[in-house]
Chain length 491, copies 2
């Protein structure tokens, strides 16, 4: 039988490994990724799970290998996703959460966490000028928050559907921009509405929803097809970082009695800064919004919050009053149990990290981090403009900076932005391909990570993101020079 | 501006706090819960989130308060839920996961974790005699795994519904026992099928699905109402811990061409032990199953796995090929990106804890823990039988031990089990009420936690659960004597 080592010793060894890991990033020793093709990695790492036990030294070795062969998302040159490492207070909160190891559904197994969620919702509501009745839900991830918004909106539209299903009903539609997140379509599929239920409203070149087309589509659906149960506006789209005009959309929502949800998952953190807040002008009018503090707010994953101004919906939509969990004869009152609001049963404790971060940094600290990320984005825009081999897609509305690498055999006319864009479009295949190839080479080198994407108008471009307060100017300079270097190598 | 302390110092302080916490449980100093009514707790803990920052000492104080005012689920006398603390290797894996802080969707941001999931699925498939093509998904929590099963089954039944929605279709039904988990109903609501789509098959007194009634209902639905797209069998029900007869249900599934899913979330770990495995006899025949290693396998929360023998479904059901994430021009091949299989987008890394635990303990270690939990349950049954003030509901099939506290003014006839049960039923209100009251007093004392529930036949009873390898015989003895003591106090 296996002899187990002392728990404290195991903790000490793990923490010391983590410290060296963090230190190696700090000193610049560690690359962002030690990349290997899938087949090579399979041969390099022992993935096997034998019947017998493994010695603790083997487990510790395995942990070290995991640290070494994983992506260092806390590295200041990780710009690949809409997250980038996490705040250390948030990480410590996760450690405590993992030790307490409880679930969120009843007050009795998570008394403090249940009440913390309430206070966090109140704090968020105040940031967006919501007054009076509100409610919130913390969900596992972005898509779930949008899914939840759609479920709640459909229920509010017609509660009867939860009983008898969609069969006899008029067709239901959700309207969202063609630059919005794909979770809207995935949710429609899951909800039995089908892909056809998602009508994509066209966007302008800045990626913002065209409100005139939105209104025209509402008319068309009502006259010809069925009912609109929700409009999804996006504050900070995934690729271009565009902000849909919330106020105008909300006014249309009001006019036609359609619920409006705002997906501000990526850049909702602007709510903490008095100047940047204007980007979400009109947010006080909407029915619900979703945001992910694990993105711009720099919380650990997973951390996603959905908020509503219609608490009667959460109080009834999913409620089944299952007795083994939500017994109505509890001494503390079953009203304190939050689990029955959710479509899921058990739920991870995601509130502690959010609370500790917010408490530690204060609203001011979060606002300062936010402004810093916007300033970094501006700095990087300047860098792109100053680098002849790079060309900016457009002035960013957010901290997504989209730009192309221009191969040396291609000359932009430089008579106007439109003329340059036209040339890029005319060389679609060349630019599309070299962008993907640069990314491949970037992964192999492992010095940094930046993602790429394309839009309906233009070929692949790099989508640079600024989030982490740890990023320095030289990291941003490096992105520009490294892409040029890789491009020139490949040509 | 706030001056931040050194990260390493913060880690050291946090870990030292965690060690003292664990130590206070080990020595018996710490109770399971320091319970307070919601209003009292609100006054006792500073939940406020001021605009300014808080000092680090204040944050550390707050962490200590969180440890002190939360439920010690790792306490050997926490028997309240279907989880009870976590294995320390699992906890260490969570710490590493939180430091690496990445998401599961593309190979490039989680190369090792992507491959680890593959190997874990293969290992699980082998444990249930699945050969050939399989696939798996790790989902956030139990309900999501059952929801996923239902979505995949509905898609397999008719893929067209994902495009056009349910509107024109025949009504779709899912069959499940009346003791099965409520996530089936919640999922039906979310999926647009409605509550009416869930037909509850009656169970016998042991809580197992009546297969004859199941067949009769299939006939009735097909002849009169619509189509059955899935049968949900349960291996280890929430309250009684009953095992539905999987083999018989699968044979019916085959006969009527209906997909069979097994919810073995609570007690699927029997698959690791050659003797206990007979409880899931027939598992090799089913389409899919879901299990939660964060329950009986003692992994940290959240950890839920869904497995299928029909990988073509996962390969197409949710797939949208959204380009910004799953670009088809990636050098390593987009086939390695697992994200598009899911209804959600980003996903927490839940595989590391499972892998490290499995590797450390081996199949043998996990089987040994499983047998130990079953032996503890048997020991506790004996204890109940030896305690005149307690009465056993039935011989447990699993590690749920259901029993009543019998008030001193009530005398059971003791002529037969049926006669005793009849007396309990005749004193429904008295027993129902005192059970809830004992639980309230139990929370106030905080020495242990055990949950209660009722069934369609009988009033509230205690549902004792054995999971944790840390539980000693004296902890089990304490449960019996403490309940008697509390009951006598209240009377």
């Amino acid at each position: 039988m296996k002899k187990f080592i002392n728990t404290e010793y195991l903790m000490d060894r793990t923490v010391s490994m983590i410290k060296s890991y963090m230190n190696s990033i700090e000193t610049g020793e560690r690359k962002v990724i030690d990349f290997h093709q899938p087949q090579a990695l399979k041969e390099m790492f022992d993935f096997s799970l034998p019947t017998g036990w493994s010695s603790d030294e083997k487990i510790l070795e395995s942990m070290q290998a995991v640290l070494d062969k994983s992506v260092a998302t806390m590295h200041p040159r990780f710009f690949n996703q809409l997250y980038a490492g996490a705040n250390v207070y948030s990480t410590m909160a996760e450690w405590i959460t993992s030790v307490l190891n409880t679930s969120m559904y009843t007050y009795e197994v998570g008394p403090l966490f249940t009440l913390m969620e309430e206070y966090v919702y109140e704090c968020l509501a105040k940031q967006v000028w919501w007054e009076g009745h509100i409610d919130g839900m913390m969900l596992p991830w972005w898509s779930n928050s949008n899914l939840n918004a759609m479920q709640m909106a459909r229920y509010a539209h017609n509660p009867e559907l939860h009983k008898s299903g969609l069969y006899g009903n008029k067709k239901l539609y959700v309207l969202t921009s063609d630059e919005s997140h794909y979770s809207i379509t995935k949710s429609a599929m899951l909800m039995g509405l089908g892909k056809d239920a998602v009508v994509k409203v066209k966007t302008n070149e800045q990626g913002q929803m065209d409100v005139d087309e939105l209104e025209a589509i509402i008319h068309q659906i009502r006259e010809e097809w069925g009912e609109v149960f929700m409009i999804n506006a996006t504050s900070g789209t995934t690729v271009l970082g565009a902000y849909d005009p919330i106020r105008k959309i909300s006014e249309l929502g009001k006019k036609y009695e359609i619920r409006v949800h705002v997906d501000m998952i990526w850049w909702g953190t602007v709510m903490f800064d008095n100047t940047l807040k204007e980007k979400i002008d009109g947010i006080e009018l909407v029915d619900s919004f979703a945001r992910n503090p694990h993105k711009m707010m720099w919380a650990s994953m997973q951390c996603s919050v959905w908020m509503t101004q219609r608490p009667w919906i959460t109080a009834s939509c999913n409620v089944l009053k299952t007795q083994y969990l939500f017994a109505n004869d509890k001494g503390y009152g079953v009203g304190c149990d939050t689990g029955d609001k959710y479509s899921q049963c058990g739920r991870r404790v995601d509130v502690l990290k959010l609370r500790l971060m917010r408490k530690s940094l204060g609203q001011k600290g979060i606002a300062a981090n936010t402004r810093k990320a916007f300033a970094d984005a501006q700095y990087f825009v300047q860098k792109v403009n100053d680098t002849p081999e790079l060309y900016l897609y457009q002035e960013p509305q957010c901290t997504n900076i989209c730009f192309w690498y221009i191969p040396s055999d291609l000359t932009l006319p430089w008579t106007s932005h439109e003329a340059n864009l036209a040339t890029i479009k005319n060389n679609y295949h060349r630019i599309h391909t070299i962008t993907a190839k640069i990314k491949d080479r970037m992964l192999e080198k492992g010095e940094m990570m930046v993602n790429y994407a394309y839009t309906k108008w233009y070929p692949n471009f790099f989508r640079m993101i600024t989030i982490s307060p740890k990023v320095k100017k030289e990291d941003l300079d490096f992105v520009a020079s490294h892409i040029v270097e890789l491009g020139r190598e490949i040509e």
